[in-house]
Symmetry: C2
Subunit: 229 residues, 2 copies
């Protein structure tokens, strides 16, 4: 590769920062860690790290997330490039933000034990380093608009879930109440759910039927994007 032609131009530090949204049946949460390097060491922060010469930003985001949390193979997409000259107080760093969705229960133990990561309800996010607060806000907006047309909300749930759980999730994302009957009607009309015999009995006496996705129809919707909730 002949890099000579570009030699005279500035080179910048490029970082990735990941906003990980999680759901545990009770409000949306974001995953934060204590920043491990100066400046601002010890303050709450998104998962972040620098992009290496030999990896794309997607690869960097995947790697950083794995290194910091052990999380792999989750839904993640690029959010936005944050590039204010003074966004990082220690130097010029542009950051490509990513957002991801996971089911908290799937990962909770390893996060708590092996890594100093913690879930924060979206309305109780502590002060964050740099422009990470803005990143979280942007990610939340993106999640809301994305979830309206794509069935990505399911990434936040366990494989088996009940309709009330699904509705709770949408209510958490939209921060508003939905009508139970209308919600059920709408979701079932998409016919991407298969009802199981089994019931979830923990959260009610009557018990609620579990559902799972119909993977093939689910992927079809995922690709095409459909008017969702």
């Amino acid at each position: 590769m002949d890099i000579g032609k570009y030699k005279s131009h500035d080179r910048l530090l490029v970082a990735v920062d990941c906003i990980i949204f999680g759901f545990d049946g009770d409000g949306l949460k974001a995953l934060l860690i204590k920043r491990s390097l100066q400046p601002e060491k010890g303050k709450w922060s998104l998962m972040g790290g620098f992009v290496n010469q030999d990896e794309s930003t997607d690869e960097a985001a995947t790697r950083v997330l794995r290194q910091l949390t052990g999380i792999e193979n989750i839904y993640m997409e690029q959010l936005y490039c944050f590039s204010d000259v003074n966004r990082d107080t220690a130097g010029r760093v542009i950051s490509i933000a990513y957002f991801a969705l996971i089911n908290i229960a799937d990962y909770n133990e390893q996060l708590q034990s092996e890594h100093e990561a913690r879930w924060f309800p979206l309305d109780k996010i502590p002060t964050l380093v740099f422009d990470h607060k803005e990143m979280v806000a942007t990610a939340k907006e993106r999640l809301q608009s994305k979830v309206a047309n794509h069935p990505i909300g399911f990434e936040l749930l366990p494989e088996k879930f009940t309709l009330p759980q699904l509705q709770n999730l949408y209510e958490a994302i939209y921060e508003s109440k939905l009508d139970k009957r209308n919600f059920t009607k709408k979701i079932l009309s998409l016919s991407i759910l298969n009802k199981l015999e089994e019931k979830e009995k923990a959260s009610s006496k009557k018990g609620a039927f579990y559902y799972v996705f119909d993977k093939s129809k689910y992927r079809k919707l995922h690709r095409e994007g459909v008017k969702f909730v």
Copy 2:
């Protein structure tokens, strides 16, 4: 600024590339120039340039566009960060793509004369350098989805425009025909247009009334985002 802490990390060349969409009453077009530096010098390319140490990517995009085309003060927003390791054949460069909208007639002369820039209908884009083809495709998708909820389409029209012109624009963006009566009804129901006495007589014998935006209502919609066409 203490940059010492980050010293050991890779620094990358960061570029911006601008997809400029234009409309001249007859189909959507994209603005391209002949690339002025090696490699691939002389091939068609988006407007691009490197991001300097002391500017944000927004600022870089604005500057690059001004330098290459003289265009200023137009609607522009960040599109996506393209970062494949081998996207630029001459070295590792990540690129933040921006897309912009303008009315071709407002800028045509200066573009043709002072700069080697040319408009290409979207279905006749020539072979482009690097991953610029993908950037154009991504920008087109974004334009389509954005214009459905935000009145940014108006950026592509002159200040005074007729309803048939506006409809042509939407048809060009969506690449499909719309019903004249339904379109008129919908647009007027938003009440962001003010009808003028004056008629545009060039393109028909009867003549079509000019309209202008109601700036204040327009901005309100712009902010809030409304179900549009």
